[in-house]
Subunit: 327 residues, 2 copies
């Protein structure tokens, strides 16, 4: 089977699992909880779970359950983040709180959060206690770390002195941890050795950091329709992306003033001017940085003896996709 067909089959199974699990008699609530998931998404995290499991010779059905849990968890964080960041569009459609109001959006996120844990529970059913504990602990620890990352992200909006190391630590928590956990989980469900799980974790973590850097880049370079959300929203929200941090470091007095006046602004001209300066001063740097993390991810993967060459190729091609994506 070719790579694309293999991916499609996994994604179809994950979509079915998620849909089956997100049914209940509180109609509006369940509708709101399925809405963003059904609107699209690349399903990169479940692919990482399933292929990491296959890489170490694991059972696909368990990995599908765990992959669905991770994707549901991811969507819960998106719904709550959109409320916190007051974002109104995602995946080309109104965000959940815009469509249903903040109370239902909070509750839909909470429901997805709990459903994710229920699914993780299903994925470890019947496994030995040690493996089950490892999987559950990694999963709950991840939500904690992601929440900490989101808090750092919001705190950074108020600061002007963010260093690159602080930024990397923030995105390691906010974005990379869930990719790292996805790879780790898949391997753990397959009964992988601690050393192999560590390498899978690093693969996911480095790829996740690359993913967020590319996200920052797409925020000023993407085609708005393809991206599915407004361009420059990071700038409007005053987010301290790697582009902002590096541009502020390299800017002269005048450029610095312009960048700062655009951050947190609602004026389209100012936003465009700031985006232009970020592109000029830091786009190349950010692209190189993403490539560096991408190659570190591949490097970590190459140290594992694969039980399936297909799975190895799949994991490499996901890392490539993360770098080359346009949305």
């Amino acid at each position: 089977m070719g790579l694309d067909e293999d991916f499609e089959e996994i994604v179809a199974k994950v979509n079915k699992t998620m849909n089956d699990f997100l049914q209940g008699d509180a109609k509006e609530l369940y509708e709101a909880s399925r809405y963003l998931i059904q609107a699209g998404g690349k399903r990169l995290r479940p692919l990482v779970v399933v292929l990491s499991s296959k890489l170490l010779g694991g059972d696909i059905e368990r990995a599908i359950l765990a992959g669905s849990a991770v994707e549901i968890l991811h969507n819960f964080t998106l719904i709550h983040d959109d409320i916190m960041d007051q974002d109104t569009t995602r995946r080309g459609i109104p965000t959940v709180h815009v469509k249903w109001g903040i109370p239902i959006a909070i509750l839909a996120g909470d429901l997805l959060h709990a459903k994710a844990f229920q699914l993780i529970g299903e994925s470890i059913r019947g496994l030995d206690g040690n493996t089950a504990f490892k999987v559950l602990d990694c999963f709950s620890r991840s939500v904690i770390i992601v929440s900490e990352g989101q808090a750092m992200d919001m705190e950074f909006e108020k600061r002007w002195d963010i260093k690159e190391t602080e930024y990397i630590e923030m995105i390691r928590r906010k974005t990379a941890q869930l990719f790292a956990c996805s790879a780790y989980l898949g391997g753990a469900l397959a009964g992988g050795k601690e050393e192999e799980l560590g390498k899978l974790f690093v693969y996911g973590e480095k790829m996740g950091i690359a993913f967020q850097i590319v996200d920052d880049i797409l925020g000023i370079t993407a085609d708005e329709k393809e991206l599915g959300k407004p361009l420059y929203s990071d700038i409007r929200e005053g987010k301290k992306t790697i582009l902002v941090i590096k541009a502020l470091e390299r800017a002269n007095q005048e450029q610095r003033k312009l960048i700062i006046s655009g951050l947190g602004s609602n004026d389209p001209d100012k936003l465009r001017a700031t985006a232009g300066l970020l592109a000029e001063l830091s786009l190349d740097y950010a692209r190189d940085l993403a490539l560096k993390y991408h190659s570190e991810a591949i490097d970590s993967l190459s140290k594992i003896v694969p039980r399936s060459q297909d799975a190895l190729n799949g994991l490499i091609s996901i890392a490539d996709l993360v770098i080359k994506r346009r949305k």
Copy 2:
């Protein structure tokens, strides 16, 4: 050891466990997540977990972990509910979103939710897979059911034709499920038989229903200072409490008009008039109903052969407390 000292020792251990688990370097976030927990609370749910475990001869330390998990979970739901219901005071202090803003309050709730699962994971560490699955499944299922109950509660605000059976089903999900799960969890951790766990579940569920009915009653009869939140907030929010449902059933044309005009109102005179009518028309009924569920709870408990008479007495006295409480 006397009952009160026994309770105090459990509560002290639960408080220490929660405090130890709620530490991290995202300072503001962790402070917001500890705030409501440290402001008080009766710790009824952890007491139910620990005493149910002791009743079936279980290990106290495991039950303390699970009890702390339940209490953290409960506080997560309170923080998010207060945002949804726009409540500004709880336990005599400003609610989390009033003090820190909605974004941090959402995130603090999410963090507590994840921490609760981490703690439940700790409580089942090293247990056989079957018991571990039972505990985890009951826990995640509870959050799902509680979310559904909250959705029903919000939907009921828009309807005038709520029947008593619908109300009981709503509070069974929103409030009673977590009490039921607390008793079940404690018993499951002790390795109780399925039949015993079922009886514990019913004890918790019936007590939880009584708890919510008493909550509805206190909303119009309590001393405001003692209660720690504004009187009549249920009426102001248009909640369909058992008092409202029964009063509407018994009211004449004129009384019905008055009650309806008070529900969802901000006018203190209207609120007071509606509260007066509720007291006149349905207070006795609600009190009798709470007593009925209280005695069904005790009844279910009496069918279990206790391994500890102290634990049995403790569980009975918690059910009594639920009925007699003034806040």
